[in-house]
């Protein structure tokens, strides 16, 4: 986990821009979210920056707002595994990670697909195992419908165990058998053992069950706690759970998702950050945000004007297909927003810009590199998943300006180890 001079190594992940308003499509530099050239360009940039892996998220149903397809953000994604397989042909060292649902896939089939990707890429495959419980997404699948929330993680854990059983049986000629209350399956895996044996497993849940699920068996946690104090608390909590599962500190990496904005001076970086936030929140987007919270059609309101004086309809959920739509305490949010808008004299769009700000690191390249090294050195994280706001050039300035500083400090590899697998690059303890 450390360089030869004792500096903790920073793990870096390039997140392909997603389908929420973090991704700015109105900028003239924004290019296709679906042409293969965009995936290829971002992956090549990440490899030039000696990142550990490329990450592609997944959505299995288009988001909806007021019963219609949400049309203000980027829409349209590829099949995760297909893009990762194609990227294996245009990269040599970069890990290839993707989100794949345990709810809408089958363990044997997914184990075989990930083993195929691991063979094709020479040991660079990784899988972000997510669970889905909403019937909304299930309408696109045979195995549709709702899973009880407490069953979600048990079933997901069973799914991951089954996948690993098939991986472990590869090359032995014997059948892996997996029987419990969720699955009754058996097969003789037909692929030889893949270079990593077990491709890297990533987990992103944040609830207590989600954290335990990660501590029990994941290799990487994709966390949402990018801030220093929140990051420290999360890191400590998950490591306590890790120990309780009898696993060592070097068996799990914690990588929060973060954004960054660079400038030649701190003031210039702040100014750019603010301009990006206004690109991310158009007037129409601001109204949609407030509609989600209010549960009402507010299309008649002026985004530059004050918050609606009508009371929210807390029974109505206008948005489907996003995590936020299911989990937020909206009454408390309305109260807090009203207080903030009043005290800071903010209009609707200004308020949403402030409230939805996700920028973690804003500053000069030196300052951002320093913060990244500090977070890792003091165990607020093991590195970061960088989420750019532009497709596909959104990491260019990071790779050009921050990566050399990380390398000078000895916190990031100057080059890859030839032929190393992703598991080896991440410094994870070898799997049995």
């Amino acid at each position: 986990m450390s360089g030869s001079d004792g500096i903790r190594q920073v793990r870096l992940v390039a997140h392909f821009p997603g389908v929420n308003n973090t991704t700015v499509w109105s900028d003239p530099r924004s290019r296709s979210q679906i042409d293969f050239s965009s995936f290829e360009e971002l992956a090549r940039t990440a490899e030039r920056g000696r990142f550990d892996y490329f990450f592609l998220a997944e959505g299995l149903r288009l988001r909806e707002h007021q019963g219609r397809i949400h049309d203000l953000d980027v829409v349209g994604r590829p099949d995760t595994l297909t893009v990762l397989a194609a990227l294996s042909a245009v990269t040599a060292n970069l890990g290839l990670a993707g989100t794949l649902s345990t709810t809408y896939n089958e363990p044997y089939e997914l184990s075989r697909q990930l083993a195929t990707l691991d063979h094709l890429s020479g040991g660079r495959a990784a899988w972000n195992a997510v669970t889905s419980s909403d019937a909304f997404t299930g309408e696109n699948f045979r195995r549709g419908g709702y899973l009880d929330h407490t069953d979600r993680y048990e079933r997901a854990a069973s799914f991951v165990r089954a996948v690993r059983a098939f991986w472990d049986a590869a090359g032995t000629g014997r059948a892996a058998v997996h029987r419990d209350r969720f699955f009754d399956i058996e097969a003789v895996p037909t692929l030889p053992r893949s270079p990593q044996g077990r491709p890297v497993v990533i987990q992103a849940g944040d609830s207590p069950q989600g954290r335990d699920f990660a501590a029990a068996g994941a290799d990487v946690v994709f966390s949402r706690h990018g801030g220093f104090e929140a990051g420290r608390a999360f890191y400590d909590d998950v490591h306590r759970r890790l120990a309780a599962h009898g696993r060592g500190d070097d068996e799990l990496l914690i990588l929060p998702g973060v954004t960054y904005v660079l400038g030649d001076t701190p003031a210039e970086a702040e100014e750019r950050a603010r301009a990006i936030r206004y690109q991310q929140v158009s007037g129409a987007t601001a109204i949609r945000f407030v509609e989600q919270v209010w549960g009402r059609d507010l299309s008649e309101y002026d985004p530059e004007g004050p918050l609606p004086d009508v009371e929210p309809d807390l029974e109505r959920v206008l948005t489907q297909g996003t995590a936020a739509a299911r989990s937020t305490d909206r009454a408390a949010l309305v109260e807090r927003w009203r207080a903030r808008a009043a005290s800071e004299k903010l209009g609707i769009r200004d308020l949403v810009v402030e409230e939805s700000a996700r920028q973690t690191f804003v500053g000069t390249p030196e300052a951002v590199a320093g913060e990244i090294v500090r977070h890792v050195a003091e165990r607020a994280s093991d590195g970061f998943v960088l989420v750019p706001h532009l497709t596909p050039g959104g990491l260019d300035d990071f790779v050009d300006r921050v990566v050399p500083l990380l390398q000078e400090r000895g916190a990031l590899r100057a080059d890859y180890t030839p032929g190393a697998t992703l598991r080896e690059n991440l410094g994870l303890a070898p799997r049995p």
């Binding site: 499509w25 109105s26 679906i34 293969f36 290829e40 959505g59 299995l60 149903r61 288009l62 219609r68 397809i69 049309d71 203000l72 953000d73 829409v75 349209g76 994604r77 590829p78 099949d79 595994l81 297909t82 893009v83 397989a85 194609a86 294996s88 042909a89 245009v90 809408y104 896939n105 089958e106 044997y108 089939e109 075989r112 697909q113 083993a115 195929t116 990707l117 063979h119 094709l120 890429s121 020479g122 309408e139 696109n140 699948f141 045979r142 195995r143 549709g144 699955f183 009754d184 399956i185 058996e186 097969a187 003789v188 037909t190 692929l191 030889p192 158009s282 007037g283 129409a284 987007t285």
Partner: protein
């Protein structure tokens, strides 16, 4: 129905995937041989269990950036795989290959596949192919569920897509349904060409309504001629243009060494002999079909002989397509790019 070779022969190779290796380089080598010879497509077989071979669609996705002209046609079975995943996977292969994807539809018949997935027991061929027809239908609808031009990026109104040009498919299959729309925009070809191997009448029923390319597996020239007529009758009975589909004969070529043992004979026309003799045979057989899918006794040994010695003889005879710059598989086959069925026009 004798075909006077008034259109070029369509020529693809079938790489069955077994024994083809597992690294990308293994497969790139084979597909490039076919591409350099100017062939129309390379098909790669697949099965969940039984035979040791990699996932065909992912393997051809890794081949796509290393090739520029040849069609890439993976087998994707539909019995256990979610139709929604099939649709976006083939669409994504079409994006990765810049319009060169096809889809070879197969069903899964074995108990070992059923036990590996654990969702359903095996079923009779009639039921499997009836479901395959439904899957091919919904996959095609999902490809159409984004009209061309649905992505508008209209900064004036803040709208990225015109949602009036995105469509729910609301498809009811046998025991399942799919709401839609696809998460993946319409692929470059609109609808990547669909291949069905009409090995029996149940598969033929699927081919008649869903296939752009039908592969017939009869073992003699006379039987191929009859089967070809039958395919066109069924296509016409399904309300489609009887000459709008390509009917290709399956051929198994043993060029490097002697003929097949009785266990390897398989289906289709079998050629055992020299590469030159195969060229002569294909020229003769080509009078009754639109082309061939050629598989090999040994891909390692026979494919190079086929591409280096058989194909140049066919090319000298003027029966193959010329001019092989980058273009889509549909363009190569002369299939027009269809408009979305959901479009207002």
């Amino acid at each position: 129905m004798a075909h006077p070779l008034d259109r070029p022969l369509t020529l693809g190779v079938a790489l069955d995937g077994a024994g083809g290796g597992f690294t990308a380089a293994d497969h790139v080598r084979a597909v490039r041989l076919a591409e350099d010879a100017g062939l129309d497509f390379a098909a790669l077989g697949d099965s969940l269990t039984g035979v040791s071979r990699p996932d065909a669609l992912l393997t051809l996705a890794a081949v796509a950036p290393h090739t520029r002209r040849i069609g890439l046609v993976p087998t994707v079975t539909v019995t256990h795989t979610e139709p929604f995943h099939v649709s976006k996977a083939v669409a994504s292969l079409d994006f990765a290959s810049r319009g060169r994807a096809g889809w070879w539809v197969e069903v899964s018949r074995t108990g070992s596949d059923a036990r590996a997935v654990g969702r359903r027991p095996t079923a009779p061929g009639e039921e499997l192919w009836a479901e395959a027809t439904a899957v091919a239908d919904v996959v095609s609808r999902l490809w159409d569920s984004w009209e061309d031009g649905a992505e508008i990026r209209d900064t004036a109104t803040g709208r990225f897509v015109d949602r009036d040009r995105l469509h729910y498919v609301d498809f009811e299959g046998p025991g399942w349904s799919v709401r839609g729309p696809s998460i993946t925009p319409r692929p470059p070809q609109g609808r990547p060409p669909v291949v069905v191997r009409a090995e029996d009448d149940h598969a033929l029923a699927t081919a008649a309504v869903a296939a752009d390319v039908v592969v017939v597996t009869s073992g003699t020239l006379g039987a191929v001629r009859e089967r070809c007529l039958r395919v066109r009758e069924e296509v016409a009975a399904a309300g489609r243009d009887r000459d709008g589909v390509f009917v290709l004969a399956e051929v198994r070529a043993h060029l490097a060494r002697g003929g097949p043992g009785p266990d390897r004979a398989g289906a289709g026309l079998v050629h055992t002999g020299s590469p030159g003799a195969l060229a002569e045979a294909l020229l003769e057989w080509g009078r009754v079909v639109d082309g061939f899918v050629v598989g090999f006794g040994s891909t390692d040994e026979d494919l190079p002989l086929f591409t280096e010695r058989t194909v140049p003889l066919l090319r000298e005879s003027g029966v193959l397509r010329e001019g092989d710059g980058p273009r889509t598989l549909r363009d190569r086959l002369g299939l027009a790019r269809p408009d979305s069925r959901y479009g207002a026009g």
